[in-house]
Amino acid sequence: MNSRLAILLALIWLPLTAYVMFRSALGAHGSYLLLPAIPSVIVLYVLALRSWRESWVAMLGATLVCFWLLMAVTAPYLPLLDPNKPLVPLVTPGGIRHGVLFLLGSDLRGRDVLSRTVWGCQRVLVWGITATSVAYVVGAGAGLIGGYLGGWWDEFVSFASNVLLSFPVMVLYILVLNLLGQSGFNIIIAVTCSSAPVIMRIVRGLALDAKSRDYIQAAQTRGEHPLWIMLVELLPNVRGPIIVDACLRLGYTTVAITTLTFLGLGLQPPDPDWGLMIKEGATAALLWKYSYMVIVPALSVSSLILGFNLIADGMREMSLRD
């Protein structure tokens, strides 16, 4: 079950990441990469619905997240206008100009908002999930080391995390992105710096509790290596709370990335991105007539975050029930 899920996630995430991060290098045939991801998303959705059928909250969350995942992997195949091509500026939603329907209108430069919204979810999803995963590997690793090994190791990781936690998150982001330059990879570093200490605290606490269990002593008394104990004996037993937190944290990271692009840090134009769309539409949105330029991407980002949060809520509810 678990290995099937891992393969499925890899089938979605690896092509999508490669497609978003290295599109220019891939050339025109890049979109074939996404083909295996499309059925995978559908299977993932069916699996999620089946295993979470007791919680309508989690099912709703899964529906929202899987909708955006599906949009992300099918974007090249959908009958959409070119998201970067200026056509007719300031068409309100539903308007038809030169025989072209702008379902959600067009922005100041005349680009189709619907197409930019669909394409934009790719960047948010890819960078959000990647950054959260990296933060998790670093934070969970540090937490296991601190919690299980204790002593100087614990002092060291705890001190490092306290230092990082003492910065306000926004200051930390701006600091990292200004020092290292603005790019997607540096967003990963910035998110890791802000999230990993919190993850480390959670995992450390769970590891401290699990460490006193007899099965850990049993492993110690048969002379297992500490790395084995941490990864094979401890990690699987702290996964429950970690998975719930990861879903919440995906939401935070999505907010953070959107905020950063809104501020002009991190991901750069011209590729569509929800934060960027809100930023570009902000001036036009002063007029109610043109507020769709902000409302559409803002609702999109909210629905994705809501999806992650609902999944987290539903899983917590289900874990409390048994």
Partner: protein
């Protein structure tokens, strides 16, 4: 008020006449009645009955014991009486009458006045019942202030006198302390005092001593025993321990799988049990005079049924030796009276057909062959953690095939010793010699696979001993692979199956996860894991203490059986002297890091005793009516190991203390017979003149 009370008493009388079975003592109305009470919990697949058709009459001043194994519904009854069943639980039938008033119809203020006022409950974990952020005094004073609107000063005086009545020394200081500053035994006394402060007419005690050490437990039990005499309170005492019920209660109800199977006076039921389950429980408990060779334990086969799938007819049927197909599984069995005058009744169809006086089929006895050479030699072993002297000068040895029990209460250093032996920590001085290899300062990471294989451990908590994330088979296989017993994968799988056979579990358990196993089954896997590499020495750290009585017997027999076959030396760490008496060949009694007494089991269990051994023996609750025991109560609590008393470490609690000697000088070790050694200042003659703790009572 008076009038209302009389009316309700009359109503209670009516109810009893309608129910028409229990004996009616003239002019005395029960304080609590349960009439055909049934409780269910809402589950995903429909309601799960937890208590079925339960009846109880509790007279004023009477103590009624409710015994049974885990999951038999005894705590649910207490919760139903308190109306604390929570969202999932529901009374689906019957009535609970408290002083004639139906508790089930009560709501809000009426219920609040009864809870904590007329009915008080005491739980297993004292620390969870006390508010950690308030001083004990403040918490005690609240009770009369709330229930009787008493002034603060009067309430404080009441609280203080109550502390004296629960025999708490130094009440002034205790009132100013916070819960974490006092010991577990003191906490439980506070909880009892708090319950008694509101002058309850009924006290519900749910395993009140399970979390305590035996000598501390003995003090609390003595206190509970006197509550009804001193305060006139009726008690419902819930326990899994038949011995404790014998010491505290007048009447007893034995529960099995949600039903009362036998009810009667404690003496009547324990001496003349009339239900196969009760009889099975007694046969699976060790008694103080028997050992594994003369009277092997007889365990009850099988396991209690799942509450979701009870068998038809008698719930105990599938495990019962007297099961008659077509009769016992035909229809639900009702209680049938045995001795109406005594109120003795049993839920058994064949109660008149079974020869109850015939001794139950004895287990297969055997003799222990002589022991082999010394395999483990511990010499003057000491370990300090900063200021705590956890092990101080331990010296003993164990022979091949022998079972050596290390007995003591919390803080005695038995777990520290086990950790040193297993190489998880290192000793400061002294030596451990395992077949010529010095282990006291050799961490497990530097031990060879052979050494690790020859020294294995069985852990205490069955719910913790297996990693919940991996299958049972993969965990056993990991041990085999890691210790290099087998390398070939198909051989490893074969050996996993062999080990499952060894501990008498089906082979398909290899694919199961620990959460699908019962406590006893998990502990069997723990045994299988320890014996994977044919160890020379197995350390068993309280392997039975978390198991139910009927399961304990089966695991004990399994352990003995495997040990005999493999010739393994067993170091059995325990606080339960009746199990130790049964299982072990030699006993080492420890207190605060030092050995107080050691010798062959029969030597330790007979005079001369070390004063601490004597108190430990007297603290063991014995259910068997054929034995009487002498009362020895220790004052005070176990001192902190970080500041052990000077001289003899037991001197602060010893009833024979010689002031000026025991509290100054370490005691000399006196040798009585070959290998029987007692570390005590008392003159030899005085030790020799001690009376036995247990005596076979004349019936």
């Amino acid at each position: 008020m008076q009038h209302a009370g009389m009316q309700s008493n009359a109503a209670a009388g009516d109810a009893r006449i309608l129910a028409g079975d229990a004996p009616i003592l003239a002019g005395d109305a029960p304080i609590l009645e349960c009439r055909n009470l049934s409780v269910s919990y809402a589950g995903r697949a429909g309601d799960v009955p937890a208590v079925i058709d339960f009846n109880l009459d509790l007279m004023p001043g009477e103590a009624h014991g409710l015994v049974g194994e885990s999951g038999c519904g005894k705590s649910t009854i207490a919760l139903a009486i308190m109306q604390y069943l929570g969202k999932a639980g529901r009374v689906v039938g019957g009535r609970i009458l408290f002083e004639g008033r139906d508790l089930l119809g009560m709501r809000g203020a009426e219920l609040r006045a009864i809870r904590g006022g007329a009915i008080a409950m005491i739980y297993q974990e004292p620390m969870a019942s006390l508010n950690p952020s308030m001083t004990i005094g403040a918490q005690l004073i609240e009770v009369p202030m709330y229930h009787e609107s008493m002034g603060r000063r009067d309430a404080a005086a009441r609280a203080k006198s109550m502390l004296d009545r629960v025999r708490m020394a130094d009440a002034e200081r205790i009132m100013r302390s916070y819960p974490h500053q006092i010991s577990g035994g003191q906490q439980q006394r506070i909880v009892i005092a708090m319950a008694l402060l509101s002058n309850p007419r009924l006290l519900l005690l749910d395993e009140p001593t399970t979390a305590l050490d035996v000598t501390v437990e003995a003090g609390i039990v003595d206190l509970i025993r006197n509550i009804s005499a001193e305060f006139g309170t009726s008690m419902l005492y819930i326990s899994h321990n038949l011995g404790l019920v014998r010491e505290t209660c007048d009447r007893v109800t034995v529960m099995y799988s949600g039903e009362a199977v036998e009810v009667g006076s404690v003496a009547g039921v324990f001496r003349g049990m009339r239900h196969p389950y009760t009889r099975g429980l007694f046969a699976s408990m060790p008694v103080p005079s028997a050992d594994k060779n003369s009277r092997p334990l007889v365990s009850i086969p099988g396991q209690p049924p799942s509450p979701r799938a009870r068998p038809p007819g008698c719930s105990f049927g599938p495990r019962c030796g007297f099961f008659a197909a077509g009769r016992c599984d035909a229809a639900p069995v009702s209680m049938s009276p045995i001795d109406a005058a005594q109120g003795h009744a049993s839920r058994c169809l064949r109660v008149d057909e079974i020869a109850w006086d015939a001794p139950p089929a004895p287990g297969v006895g055997s003799t222990t062959a002589g022991f082999g050479e010394v395999v483990l030699k511990v010499n003057d072993l000491s370990k300090r953690y900063r200021r705590v002297s956890a092990n101080d000068g331990l010296t003993f040895d164990a022979r091949r095939g022998e079972t050596v029990a290390i007995v003591g209460e919390s803080g005695c250093g038995k777990s520290t010793f086990a950790r040193i032996l297993m190489g998880l920590i290192q000793a400061d001085s002294g030596s451990i010699d395992l077949a010529g290899l010095e282990l006291s300062r050799l961490p497990v990471t530097r031990r060879s696979a052979d050494t690790i294989r020859s020294l294995q451990m069985i852990f205490q908590n069955p719910f913790d001993t297996l990693n919940p994330s991996h299958t049972v088979g993969s965990q056993i296989a990991r041990v085999i692979r890691k210790l290099g017993v087998q390398r070939d994968e198909s051989r490893i799988r074969e050996q996993v199956f062999d080990l499952l056979d060894l501990v008498k579990l089906p082979r398909d358990f290899a694919e199961r996860r620990p959460r699908q196993l019962s406590g006893g089954q998990k502990q069997r896997i723990g045994v299988a894991r320890a014996f994977a590499g044919a160890p020379a020495v197995v350390v068993a750290d309280e392997p039975l203490s978390a198991l139910d009585v009927s399961v304990q017997a089966a695991v004990t027999e399994l352990l003995i059986d495997i040990q005999r076959r493999e010739g393994t030396t067993l170091l059995f760490i325990s606080h339960d002297l009746s199990v130790v008496r049964y299982l072990s060949d030699r006993i080492v009694v420890m207190y605060l890091g030092q050995i107080m007494e050691q010798g062959r089991t029969d030597q330790v269990f007979a005079p001369p005793y070390h004063p601490y051994t004597e108190a430990l023996l007297a603290a063991v609750p014995i259910a068997d009516q054929r034995y009487a025991k002498r009362k020895v109560l220790l004052s005070g609590e176990i001192p902190s190991a970080s500041n052990p008393p000077a001289g003899c470490r037991f001197s602060t609690r010893c009833p024979y203390r010689i002031v000026g000697t025991c509290d100054l000088d370490p005691p000399p070790v006196q040798e009585f017979a070959a290998s029987h050694r007692i570390a005590c200042h008392l003159p030899r003659e005085e030790l020799l003149a001690m009376q036995p703790v247990f005596q076979e009572a004349t019936l």
